[in-house]
Every structure is written in structure tokens, then in C-alpha cells.
Symmetry: C2
Subunit: 225 residues, 2 copies
DNA sequence: AGGAAGTTTGGAACAATGTTCCAATCATGT
DNA sequence: ACATGATTGGAACATTGTTCCAAACTTCCT
């Protein structure tokens, strides 16, 4: 069943299939053509094989997506330099995941849909450890990580939705302009705040806003000390 | 095209189809049998009609899900009593959505997947107005609502995932126990924090934790004043 | 070297689903 | 009554994830 169960890893044909190669190909399809383009047929074509062969290495589509997500998130997490200051470290960790989602929006879909992927564990642990360092009382740490993580996951879903919605390579500024215009047309009586926000919607930076949210939660956490 | 374009709304057959009746039936299926049970065939059977007839009232499955979500969230929002204290009002608004998602987990999937449903606007506006009342400077209000909303949406996704994962009517305590056990088996070297959390995982209350997160963000927002 | 046993491949076949199409039915205004 | 447009029911279609299986390939044993 498990290809790794081979007693020794010898050279098979140079183009042998493997879970890694499949995940790699899937990632390429997802990145270049979007979530809807990933089908087993497309994957089989790109790998010059049949769908049955793929299923020998991968349980099902969920398994494949989980593996691809795990791969991206893990890589984002390993590239982190260790930051001495706990708050800075938390910012660095969450930003790493944010950037990974920004580069691969389908990861956002995956994380928002199945939050408890193995990939999340290191993030969870990393944040938790810094909270300890920050002096957050044990009772409150769980709540604090959850707050940070859920914020991150919520944004992940939003990012993925935007990527799905906006035709590839559309100008982002243009898109924001469109949304702002739609919001500006809402009833001023019922939606004064939404209209106010619509005004600052163009020229706003996602990454900056993400960080602002993290800082907000960190400020809240600081009051727990 | 639009059934509402009828010049007058007269009595047709008593069992006439309508978007409302379709949404209602869909909601029942989603609530009792879960997300995967909602197919146009199941819906047609329940409504004693054909799929073509449904498509006359509904654009597609997305439209149907959006309408159902909107219905649930709107109802949750209208039932709100107006709270004078801004922080209490924000807690009430977000809790209303949380409870709606708790009662209808598929709403969580929908909100996490397509965050900018019309249904979210009133939530957005409601929170924004209280932030104004709280004295949060205009520049920071957008970030603050986004933080609260994303936290909410992240949790929505998590809730929906749990509902999908856990077989209907499984004991929740039992489920938490299972997760806790799995976490407790992780490598103590690499995951001390996750293991620590695992210990407090049984006997923890989702709603309480949700509120703790909201309070954390509110505390952070309070530092902006 | 040769064959047996297990592994891996490729693609056909299947079941389920969202969606489209169209002929039949119904309601309404003239 | 009849004509017109609204509405219905269900058959047909395209696409997808998944299963199945015979062929091809590796490895191991003698």
C-alpha cells in the first residue's frame, strides 16, 4: 500500500510517479490555473499518466489538497528566523502564513475549510510558545492562540474568495474600485459606516491591514498580563 | 425571468413553487442531513417537482446557498435588542452570528467560503457604528471591524468543518476527548504547548471561548482610543 | 538466466452531480 | 374560446471523483 514501505529506495524509471511529484504538479496547476482547474484528468495529462496511477499514490482529492497545503505552509514556517522578541515572533509567524496564502490563494480555501490540517500545528505551537514568553497566564493562552489563528483563518478564506472571484491578472486596484463603487451606492441611512469605509477602500494594503489586526489582538493580549 | 416581475401577486396553485419555499426546503435538508445531502435531486424530490422547475426560481446552487445563508443571518440580526453600551452591542451582534452558525453549521461553510455575502453587510455596519460610538479614530475603524469579522469568519469555518467531520449526534465531549488524546501523543519536545492545551480541551466551551476572543480584540481596540 | 510474486501503470467504466433543454401544463387577458 | 407568456417536470448532457482491471514493469528467488 505505502510506496515508502519498499525495503530500499532504488532507481525505478526516471519519470516514476511519487506523491511528491503529484503534489508538485497539482500545486503548479492550482497556482497557474486556479482551484477549479485541478481535476484528476488534468493532473493525469500533465503527468502523462492515467488517473488510476495517481490514485495509487494518493488516497483521494482531499488527501492531495491536504498534502499540497501542508507542503506550502511547512515551507513558509521553516524559512522563519527566530525572533527574540515574542510579539515580533508572533508577527513573523502569522505573516509567513499570510504571505504563503497570498502567493497561493487555494491554500486559503483549504485552511478555511479544514482548519486542523497537520500544517497548522507548528503555527499553533509557535504562537503558543511566544505567549508563554509574553507572560500570558496559562488559562488564557488557549483563548489567545485561538483568537490569532481564527483571525488568520478568516482572512485566509477571504483571500481565497477574492482570488476565485477576480479573474486572474485583473488589476487589483481596479477591483477595489469596483467594490468601493458598489458600496458607495448603498442607502446612506442604513449603511453610513460601510460607505465611509468604501472611501478608504481603494489604496488600501491587505498586508498592512492584516498586520494591523494582529497588532490589535496582540494589544488585547497584552492587557492579560 | 424574475417571478417577482408579475404585475400582481395572485393566487396560483396552493403548492406553487417560489424562491422562499425552495430556500426553506433547502435549509431543512441542510439542517437535518448535512451539506452533502443538498442536491437538486433531493430538493426536487422533497418539493415533489423536477430540477428544471427549481432552476426557474434559482440561478444555480451558489445562488441557493447564498439565499439560505442570507436568510439565516438576517433573521439572527433582526432579533437583536439594541444595546446602549457599544462593547456589549458588539458582543451581542457577533454572538448572534455565532449562535446562528452553531445552529446551522453549513452557514459557517458558506460565510468562510464567500465572506462578502449581502448578509454580512448589516453585521459590518452594526459593528462599525459601535466602534464610532466607542471613540475609535476613523482611520483605525476599518482595521478593527475587519479584525472582529475575520475572527468570526475563521471560527465559522472551523465550526462548519467540525460539523462535517463529526458524525451527526455524536457526543461532543467524546469528540473533544479524541482530539485531546491525539494531541497528547505528539512529541513533547516539539509540541509542549499543544500538549498543554490538549489537557484543557475536554470540558471547554466553544461559546465561551468565542466570547473570550471577542473580548481580547475589544481590549485591543480599547487601546486605540 | 528465468520465472514467480508483488508493485505500478494507464485507461476504460461507473455513479453522482450541477445544469440545460424542451415539450406539456397552467393562468391570465382579450 | 383563444393566444400568450409563465411555470412545471423530467429527460438528456457534460464533468467530475472514484473504482476496477488487465498489462507492464521490478524485484527476488533459485
Amino acid at each position: 500500500m505505502d510506496p515508502m514501505a519498499r525495503t530500499e529506495r532504488s532507481e525505478r524509471r526516471a519519470d516514476a510517479l511519487s506523491k511528491e511529484r503529484i503534489v508538485e504538479a497539482a500545486t503548479e496547476i492550482l497556482d497557474t490555473d486556479g482551484e477549479s482547474a485541478l481535476t484528476f484528468r488534468a493532473l493525469a495529462t500533465r503527468l502523462a499518466t492515467g488517473s488510476g496511477a495517481i490514485y495509487w499514490h494518493v488516497d483521494n482529492k482531499n488527501d492531495l489538497l491536504a498534502a499540497a497545503t501542508d507542503h506550502v505552509v511547512s515551507r513558509a514556517m521553516t524559512g522563519l528566523v527566530d525572533d527574540a522578541e515574542p510579539q515580533a515572533a508572533i508577527r513573523a509567524i502569522t505573516l509567513a502564513v499570510f504571505d504563503a496564502i497570498d502567493a497561493h490563494p487555494w491554500v486559503g480555501t483549504q485552511l478555511a475549510r479544514e482548519p486542523w490540517q497537520p500544517a497548522i500545528l507548528p503555527v499553533f505551537e509557535g504562537i503558543g510558545a511566544r505567549l508563554d514568553a509574553l507572560g500570558v497566564p496559562e488559562r488564557a493562552r488557549f483563548d489567545a492562540v485561538t483568537a490569532l489563528l481564527n483571525y488568520l483563518l478568516g482572512l485566509a478564506g477571504q483571500h481565497a474568495a477574492a482570488a476565485r472571484l477576480v479573474p486572474r491578472d485583473t488589476n487589483r486596484a481596479e477591483f477595489l474600485e469596483t467594490v468601493a463603487q458598489r458600496w458607495a451606492q448603498l442607502d446612506p441611512e442604513r449603511y453610513p459606516f460601510v460607505r465611509e469605509v468604501a472611501a478608504q477602500l481603494p489604496g488600501h494594503d491587505d498586508r498592512e491591514q492584516f498586520l494591523a489586526g494582529i497588532n490589535l489582538i496582540l494589544a488585547g493580549i497584552a492587557t492579560l498580563r
